[in-house]
Amino acid sequence: MKALSINNLHKTYPNGFVALKGVNLDVNEGDFYALLGANGAGKSTTIGIICSLINKTSGDISVFGHDLATEIGAAKSCIGLVPQEFNFNVFEPIEEILINQAGYYGIPHDIARERAEKYLKQLQLWDKRREMARELSGGMKRRLMIARALVHQPKLLILDEPTAGVDIEIRRSMWEFLKQINAEGITIILTTHYLEEAESLCNRIAIIDKGETLEQTEMKTLLASLNNETFVLDLNTHNQNLPDSIDGCKLEKIDDQTLEVSIAKTHSMNELFKTLSAHGIDVMSMRNKTNRLEQLFLNVLDGKH
């Protein structure tokens, strides 16, 4: 079943700005779906329309088979949203924020309390439950919004840059949590500017730019389409006379002990290392110059893909 289906979504703001020019998305049930695009590409507008925070100009949206125009209550019940900006009452205790949110979905108070406890504990906020939301750190506020989005147990969770401004330790723990709830059956749509995050978490991907869908495919399929990768090699030897290319691989000397190698995907890495050894080059370590998805993302935006 489709968790989300968007067909030819258009949005023109009253000032004439055309934010969406025909976005099409298909998210399957159980997907961990990356929605990528540069700033202003239309990601947040699309999410705003899905969540009924922005009125669409035209187009069709259905959530788990419920048309957002004709079965709005049923469609909304399926969705949980973690927005980009903090949007809770900073003068409310955080446990109350969750219980109230559950109440808006018609969940009885005792069940709401149990769920609030469950998600606050899972997101390491239980000790802070009586504190006002304004007293939380930035990372805690992000986790509070995730807990709030889950309290009515949605089938589709939409996260709009959930890890923006969050330190690496908390980001990693959030990734683990999101992987866990996705494995439990919640479909997730994620927008992020951290492309390693999308590559690590998501199985499907869409790239939108200037209000249009440029690409929508499996993550593996997209990554497989990358023809060349560039690696940075840390060398043990001070080699002053490196060639420009070896065995069809382009070399670029960064400094005496650092070398960049662009290698075709079909080229064997073993062959490359043999050739480097033959030239007296001793490699100590290697890493990708850029994230693979980042390279593909830029290619798609440049129309090279």
Binding site: F86, N87, F88, Q101, G103, Y104, Y105, G106
Partner: protein, 257 residues
């Protein structure tokens, strides 16, 4: 949403609204009571004793209904306008907008919050008035009906103000420049029978005149306005403002792009 789910959602909004103004009771409940108590002392007791009776009532007895209703009106309005605009300003109104809550539940939830605060302050003022004058309720049904309906009306008006407001300045313009003058000119301190005929007719344009007189009828049994006119005006305004508020929620005016 089923009816029982809608009831839970409504109850959630009502409790949230009640907690909001009760948490800050020093700002929301006490100041209006002190202000009206000063009116009782200055206008009712000190100046009123020089004025003498209006009809068969002392001046203090005459102004009590109007001052109670003034407190009710301003607090019902202030509660909804500040709460709803605050929710817009901090964007936590989105918590409700993304949920399956029907618009009318959102509206009556906020309206109930305004009614609760308005009635609480109104009752507190009524209790304070007992220090200065005896309370004799002429007609309980009229008193209670006007008390509740007027509070509903101004809660709805506060809601519409909040929807249109783009800054905190915008939520004080209507109370300062419209509501307060209309309330003072609505016959709190005088009977319109005391005015020249021209100004009597002008006063009839003021809807608050009808509410104050209907409430005065409930407490004292006297009114410058026929009761049926007053109830027609109050209920008419409630229906019109409710319909318009629902229209604003449906179109997302001030809430959605």
């Amino acid at each position: 949403m089923t009816f029982s789910q809608q009831y839970i959602a409504f109850k959630t909004i009502v409790i949230k609204e009640a907690l909001r103004f009760l948490r800050i009771w020093v700002q929301t409940i006490i100041p209006p009571v002190i202000t009206v108590a000063l009116y009782f002392v200055i206008f009712g007791s000190l100046i009123g004793s020089q004025i003498g009776n209006i009809g068969e009532f002392t001046y203090m007895e005459f102004i009590v209904p109007g001052l109670v209703l003034m407190a009710l009106i301003s607090n019902s309005y202030a509660n909804v306008v500040s709460s709803f605009y605050g929710a817009k300003f901090q964007h936590h109104i989105e918590e409700m907008l993304i949920s399956p809550l029907p618009n009318y539940v959102i509206l009556i939830g906020f309206m109930a919050g305004g009614v609760m605060r308005g009635m609480l302050v109104g009752l507190a003022v009524l209790v304070v008035s007992l220090i200065f004058s005896d309370l004799n309720i002429h007609n309980y049904a009229v008193t209670i009906a006007v008390f509740i309906l007027t509070s509903m009306l101004f809660s709805l008006a506060g809601f519409i103000n909040a929807v249109y407001a783009n800054s905190f300045d915008d939520i004080s313009i209507i109370p300062t420049f419209v509501l307060t003058p209309l309330t003072y000119l609505g016959g709190i301190f005088y009977s319109i029978q005391m005015l020249p005929e021209f100004w009597q007719n002008v006063s009839l344009i003021n809807p608050i005149l009808y509410m104050i007189n209907a409430f005065r009828f409930g407490l004292l049994g006297v009114s410058d306005i026929p009761l049926t006119h007053a109830f027609t005006i109050i209920i008419g305004f409630i229906v019109a403002l409710f319909w318009y508020s629902m229209h604003l929620l449906k179109t997302g005016k001030g809430l959605k792009h």
